[in-house]
């Protein structure tokens, strides 16, 4: 595995762990999600460059656009949570548990 390959793989896995094991704030989960998206962006761009597959050159732009949408959706959810629950603390999201 090349160093670049290792770096964005580990960035992705670290971001995934941060998403899975977040403790207090929903915002941190969203930030980790953004990190995952960023690593995927780097992976796609390098894939298109190294394998000389110019057909895939547009894919990173698409990924960026979709991740922007997804980030805005996540932020809207955050704001909604803040409106209904007062905070974005994750303890208060367990109200469905009986």
């Amino acid at each position: 595995m090349t160093p670049v390959h290792f770096s964005f793989t580990s960035a992705f896995i670290l971001g995934l762990m941060g998403l899975a094991f977040h403790r207090t704030h929903l915002l941190s989960a969203l930030l980790c999600l953004e990190g995952m998206m960023l690593s995927l962006f780097i992976a796609l761009s390098l894939c298109a460059l190294q394998m000389k597959a110019t057909g895939y050159s547009v894919a990173p732009m698409l990924l960026l656009a979709f991740s922007a949408c997804e980030a805005s959706a996540g932020l809207a959810l955050l704001v909604a949570t803040a409106r209904t629950h007062g905070t974005d603390h994750l303890q208060s999201l367990n109200l469905l548990q009986c």
């Binding site: 762990m17 899975a20 094991f21 977040h22 994750l90 109200l95 548990q97």
Partner: protein, 612 residues
């Protein structure tokens, strides 16, 4: 074109023009003058009668019949409907008779209805009815006949309910329409069968192309139509209820013209029936049952118009029996003679009713022989003609029918019932004459008894002449198409007369009992059965609607609401899905961190397993 046929066709179409002209004068927005009824309608019908005598005499002299096809109405590749008039011997004879009787009735109605503010409208309805009736009898195809058929049905409804402020009159009109509608189902069934199997509604084509086919279904439909229109048993209650209408209406519609429309249909289409034994037997038994049942009901009625109505129904049953004997010409002869004396009976009843200040109960009449001698004499003439007194009008038709019945190898039960009904005819006729004209008056003294008006006397006189000579005239001028049996044992030949005389004697004996009282509490079972019309209206008019309405309620509430909507349809779907939805949402506990941790751990595990 030969002058004879030209005269025949043009005079017959002239009749229509004369009858339609007064109606056209009412289409203008201006109100007609008060005497419009007399100056326009009665004159038109008198003219039409005189014009119709021309084809009658041409037919008597030369035997010409004609079919006039005027106008192509709806013509497709496979089916034609034309405006076509058939003037064969049935319609050539019937039209003058109908016009003669209508002329007399209209003249009488100008006296009977003179106090009515809507007399013009009354005459207009009668004229519309007559036009529909003439369309019916001269129709050469089933579509035109259906137009006439429905026309007479609707005019009957309007005329029975003439005094529409009276609830009984409205009920009677509804009854007439509903019973006629049931009969119409049969007619439409037959028409549909003819259209699909014989490809035409023209009578000639129907006769020609139906030789090999099994015609039981359309014939049953036609018999159902005749049952509805001519008040045979099963669909008969509307006829006595129709006496709620004014007496001229009863005289015209429900004695001479409209109720014979059903029999006329069967006579017209008789060539289809003559080989079908099922249809003939049905007619025979139905007619015999009708004639006996209605004669039984007539025995204990107390309303003079109802007695005459049941008498009409009984004679219609007799006509149906004749058709069942394969003798359409005798049935037609009876239609023609019956028109005269029955209309006269109704007109005499109307004269007596008005004279006694609108009293219709025969128990409150009496002694009219001295007070209205002309009317009671004509009542007697009419009753004698009805019972078949030798050589009056009714004798030629009724006696011929009973002779044919006696000498045919058919149902003896039908024969017995018919003979019994003939004796009952004598009984109730005597009852009418006994209660109305004999004995002492049983009404209050201040009654406007006056029969000196010429518009009362002349119609009744004309119809009396008709009741006396019509039978002789018609039989001596027309050849029968079936040879009648001329020789038979004496007791069969005299059967009708003997049975009638027997009935007369019994009735005289019963009448003499009215002044003696043998039992203070008589046994009333048979009297109740007869007086309540066999309980037929009491049962059917309540039970059948109640069953239908409960069925409708069961369908609407149980089937649709409870079953389809709640168990099977939308609410049923809800009741199945709701537990599933509840279970699913109960599982979701919202422990996001746990879910994501598990996701991460399972991803790691999967990666490790695939790499090693």
């Amino acid at each position: 074109m030969h002058p004879t046929t030209l005269i025949l066709s043009s005079s017959l179409l002239m009749i229509f023009a004369l009858l339609i002209y007064p109606l056209i004068t009412t289409l203008t927005p201006t109100l007609q003058h008060e005497n419009w009824a007399l100056t326009h309608v009665k004159t038109a019908i008198k003219m039409a009668f005189l014009v119709s005598l021309l084809p009658l005499f041409i037919f008597l002299d030369q035997g010409t019949e004609t079919i006039v096809t005027n106008w192509q109405w709806m013509n497709t590749t496979t089916f034609d409907i034309n405006l076509s008039f058939k003037f064969d011997h049935y319609s050539i004879i019937f039209t003058p008779i109908a016009l003669y009787v209508t002329w007399s009735i209209l003249e009488f109605a100008s006296w009977y209805m003179h106090a009515d503010p809507n007399m013009n409208r009354f005459f207009k309805y009668l004229l519309l009815f007559l036009i529909a009736m003439v369309i019916l009898v001269t129709a050469n195809n089933m579509f035109q006949l259906f137009i006439g058929w429905e026309g007479v049905g609707i005019m009957s409804f309007l005329l029975i309910g003439w005094w529409h402020g009276r609830a009984d009159a409205n009920t009677a009109a509804m009854q007439a329409v509903i019973y006629n509608r049931v009969g119409d189902i049969g007619l439409i069934l037959s028409m549909a069968w003819f259209a699909t199997n014989l490809n035409s509604w023209e009578i000639q084509q129907m006769f020609a192309s139906s030789k090999e086919l099994d015609l039981t279904l359309p014939l049953m439909g036609l018999i159902l139509a005749a049952t509805g229109k001519s008040a045979q048993f099963g669909l008969h209650p509307w006829l006595p209820s129709a006496m709620e209408g004014p007496t001229p209406v009863s005289a015209l519609l429900h004695s001479s013209t409209m109720v014979v429309a059903g029999i006329f249909l069967l006579i017209r289409l008789h060539p289809l029936m003559e080989n079908n034994q099922t249809a003939l037997t049905t007619c025979l038994c139905l007619g015999a049952l009708t004639t006996l049942f209605t004669a039984t009901c007539a025995l204990t009625q107390n309303d003079i118009k109802k007695i005459v109505a049941f008498s009409t129904s009984s004679q219609l049953g007799l006509m149906m029996v004749t058709i069942g004997l394969n003798q359409p010409q005798l049935a037609f002869l009876h239609i023609c003679t019956h028109a005269f004396f029955k209309a006269m009976l109704f007109l005499c009843s109307g004269s007596i009713i008005h004279s006694l200040n609108d009293e219709q109960d025969i128990r409150k009449m009496g002694g009219m022989y001295n007070l209205t001698p002309f009317t009671s004499s004509c009542l007697t003439i009419g009753s004698l003609a009805l019972t078949g007194t030798p050589f009056l009008a009714g004798f030629f038709s009724k006696d011929a029918i009973i002779e044919a019945l006696n000498t045919s190898h058919l149902n003896a039960w039908a024969l017995t019932l018919t003979l019994l009904a003939t004796s009952f005819t004598a009984i109730y006729s005597l009852r009418v004459i006994f209660f109305v004209s004999m004995g002492h008056p049983r009404f209050t003294p201040m009654t406007p008894i006056n029969e000196n008006n010429s518009s009362v006397i002349n119609p009744i006189k004309r119809l009396a002449w008709g009741s006396i000579v019509a039978g002789l005239l018609i039989t001596s001028n027309f050849l029968p198409s079936n040879t009648p049996v001329m020789t038979m044992p004496t007791h069969l030949k005299l059967a009708a007369l003997l049975v009638t005389i027997l009935g007369l004697i019994i009735a005289l004996e019963l009448a003499s009992l009215t002044s003696k009282q043998f039992k203070t509490t008589p046994n009333l079972i048979t009297h109740n059965f007869s007086n309540m019309l066999g309980f037929f209206p009491a049962i059917i008019h309540r039970l059948a609607p109640k069953l239908n309405l409960t069925l409708g309620q069961a369908i609407a509430s149980q089937m649709v609401d409870q079953t389809w909507f709640e168990k099977v349809g939308p609410k049923g779907v809800i009741s199945i899905h709701l537990p599933m939805v509840t279970t699913t949402s109960n599982i979701q506990q919202g422990m996001i961190k746990t879910y994501l941790t598990l996701f991460f751990l399972s991803t790691t595990l999967a990666v490790l397993l695939t790499l090693t």
